[in-house]
């Protein structure tokens, strides 16, 4: 597992440890190499590498495993959580707190002493085609209803954003790319501070919301070209058609993904430059 894959798990794990009252600066973190650990400040988080706690060692704190291989032969006075990776609890090892296994490979020898033990089973079922179709139908229904409602209540909003998409695609794409990327990186780094994690989740959800809004706009644009007189119905049908089109694009390797990405970026920027459609986008007038 790479560091970038470990980091999100570590963030979650560190949050769990913080919730237990552990200060982040008193957590020892291991992500690579071979280590023999005999003591810790308040907690030990393992994201990779190999860690051995020898039989005569006592870790006065919690142990968190999100990657790598950990062999516990000594004693842990706090809780032990296995999120991913591998944990071997050897004969003679002692866990005074609770041993929780969410995922990963856990092996507990019969001679190990564990005060409490819990396992959360995550079953991985093969995706059913009916389930995918049902999910797509539900998405289509939601965007159709939202598109129809917005067209009926405030048609000007969709029109303004739609005009930005069609008339100023380059500008919208530029703004969408730079704003979308910057905000994404900002929110991810906010998550690393732990303190700002809730705000970063809200921010990421807001980004998804802007993309969803852009989807409605595309639905509106497709609907305008359909031979349907009622605007609300046309937007609803257009939204469904657009959603299906995007889904089909996903089956085209590379080109389909690039087109999807382009649509998202242009739509994202168009929503922003028109203030969600509250005003028409007018590029600066340059004399000369």
């Amino acid at each position: 597992m790479s560091v970038t894959e470990v980091i999100p798990l570590l963030v979650v794990g560190l949050l769990l440890l913080s919730a237990s009252g552990v200060e982040p600066d008193r957590i020892d973190v291991v992500v690579d190499g071979d280590h023999v650990v005999t003591d810790v400040d308040d907690a030990l988080a393992v994201g990779g590498g190999t860690v051995t706690v020898p039989g005569d060692a006592t870790l006065d704190g919690h142990l968190l495993v999100v990657g790598g291989n950990v062999t516990l032969a000594g004693q842990v006075t706090g809780d032990v959580r296995l999120v991913a990776g591998s944990l071997t609890v050897a004969d003679g090892a002692t866990i005074t707190g609770e041993l929780q296994a969410l995922s990963g490979n856990l092996s507990v020898a019969p001679g190990a002493a564990v005060a409490r033990r819990s396992t959360i089973e995550l079953t991985d079922t093969a995706p059913s085609p009916w389930r995918s179709v049902g999910f797509l139908a539900m998405q289509a229904l939601v965007v159709a209803l939202a598109g129809a409602w917005l067209t009926r209540r405030a048609p000007g909003l969709l029109e303004n954003v739609g005009d930005a998409v069609t008339e100023h695609a380059v500008v919208s794409g530029t703004v969408g790319a730079i704003a979308g990327l910057s905000l994404l990186v900002l929110f991810v780094y906010m998550a690393f501070t732990l303190v700002l994690l809730p705000l970063s989740i809200v921010g990421l959800l807001a980004e998804v919301g802007v993309v969803a809004y852009a989807y409605l706009v595309y639905g509106y644009l497709v609907g305008r070209r359909l031979p349907v007189d009622r605007p609300a119905l046309a937007t609803a049908l257009g939204s469904v058609a657009f959603l299906l089109g995007v889904e089909l694009l996903g089956h085209l390797p590379l080109v389909g993904t690039l087109v999807q990405l382009g649509l998202v970026v242009v739509g994202f920027g168009a929503v922003l430059v028109t203030y969600f459609g509250l005003q028409e986008f007018e590029p600066a007038v340059i004399p000369g």
């Binding site: 980091i7 291991v30 994201g47 900002l186």
Partner: protein
């Protein structure tokens, strides 16, 4: 774009003008960011035997002297009417390039502090004379609506060349490359200036009068921006802030092997190509934004991106300090990529802004003050501050944290300033 119209009309002299401007500016900027900024550090420390701090002090002196010479030159150009005379500007540039050619040839042979000092003084004079003359060509060669895109092209060409072509940061290598690049430049400029090549004479004749049509910049229509006005002072202060932040941060980054060897001086060509590509994309984005939005929007973007970039750098360092094993051996490539994006944004803005804040009567003064204050004086001040921080044994994290705070402060100040200006406008509109 006007360029498309000129291409359709087969107006080749005007198309040649675009090309000439991009090549001249990109070559000049490339010379500055590589030979002057990186080559002199190598020359001073390795050949002359000066300490890093001493070389930085000389570099600060170069920046200050260049600023002084540029302002004097810019004012002289406007007062004597050289700013309006295309041929005169080409002659000045030819003289500058010839002297710089000589300086570039002799640079690797310098071994004493005295010779190094003389070289610095002469280089300052050529740079100070050269950049108002070269920037003022915009009023002859680039129509106002195309200045954002042309600025983007200059930025993209320069940074792609600087990053994609693997050059060791040594004075000998830079000198060899620059000498080779300058020879055709001198020949073309000489041919243009001589007036003896019939085809080129027609081109110069056609371009010589264009300033009457395309001279007044974007922000000078209908009313020209005065040198002593808030409309000119505000962008100067903002650009000073941008250059100061960039220089203060970059001076420390290039002194940190772990940061520079994983990015700008990475042995991996793919890493440098990625940075070059981001520079090019960033420049094109900035060109689109400059052309389609008001000026302050781009300043906001620049400060926001600088703030974000340094947040990324400082977050990595904090994470590394907190969890040493988590940091690993290679710093994140995301940080220099954002840095490249930000630098492309403000460089594009810099190339387009000063001609757009000037007319044919003020281009010399405005470009000299603008670039002199923002580019050279900011470099002088930031180098002095960086030296002070170095002497005071300030750590990398604290240093970059300071730069980050400045970027965020400028972002905040700009937002508040724009909001306050709008409020004042509303108050006055309401008859207050």
């Amino acid at each position: 774009m006007r360029l498309a119209e000129h291409l359709r009309a087969r107006d080749w002299p005007v198309v040649f003008g675009y090309l000439l401007f991009v090549v001249l500016m990109a070559a000049g900027y490339y010379y500055n960011v590589t030979f002057v900024q990186l080559g002199l550090i190598d020359l001073g420390t390795r050949h002359v035997g000066l300490s890093g701090a001493a070389v930085s002090a000389w570099m600060a002196g170069l920046a200050l002297l260049t600023f002084g010479v540029a302002v004097a030159m810019g004012v002289a150009m406007d007062r004597r009417g050289w700013s309006r005379n295309f041929r005169t500007k080409l002659r000045i540039l030819l003289g500058v390039v010839v002297v710089q050619f000589g300086l570039t040839v002799v640079a690797p042979t310098i071994r004493s502090v005295e010779a190094f000092g003389v070289w610095i003084v002469l280089a300052s004079i050529t740079l100070g004379v050269g950049f108002p003359a070269s920037f003022s060509l915009a009023i002859d060669l680039v129509p106002v609506p195309d200045r954002g895109y042309v600025a983007a092209a200059i930025t993209a060409v320069t940074y792609v060349a600087a990053n994609a072509v693997p050059l060791a940061w040594s004075i000998e290598v830079f000198s060899r490359v620059m000498v080779l690049a300058m020879v055709p430049g001198i020949l073309v400029l000489a041919a243009l200036v001589s007036g003896r090549v019939p085809g080129l004479k027609r081109v110069v004749d056609r371009l010589a009068t264009r300033h009457e049509e395309i001279g007044p910049g974007r922000f000078c229509r209908p009313t020209p921006v005065q040198t002593r006005s808030l409309a000119f002072a505000a962008p100067v202060v903002l650009m000073f802030g941008v250059f100061f932040i960039d220089s203060l941060g970059f001076l420390r980054i290039i002194e940190t092997p772990a940061l520079v060897l994983s990015s700008w001086q990475s042995p991996e060509l793919s890493t440098r190509l990625l940075i070059a590509a981001v520079h090019a994309v960033g420049a094109l984005m900035a060109g689109v934004l400059y052309t389609n939005f008001r000026r302050n929007g781009l300043f906001l973007w620049v400060f926001a991106l600088f703030g974000l970039t340094y947040v990324l750098y400082t977050s990595d360092l904090r994470l590394g300090a907190l969890f040493p094993t988590l940091a690993g051996d290679a710093p994140s490539i995301v940080n220099p990529l954002f840095y490249a994006l930000t630098v492309s944004f403000y460089t594009t803005l810099n190339f387009a802004l000063w001609p757009d804040l000037a007319t044919a009567d003020t281009i010399g003064t405005h470009s000299a003050i603008g670039i002199g204050m923002a580019g050279w004086l900011a470099t002088f001040v930031s180098t002095a501050v960086a030296l002070y921080l170095d002497v005071a044994d300030v750590g990398l994290l604290t240093h970059l944290n300071l730069v980050n705070a400045l970027a965020l402060l400028l972002l905040f100040g700009l937002v508040v300033g724009l909001y306050a200006r709008r409020m004042v406008g509303l108050y006055r509109g309401a008859g207050g």
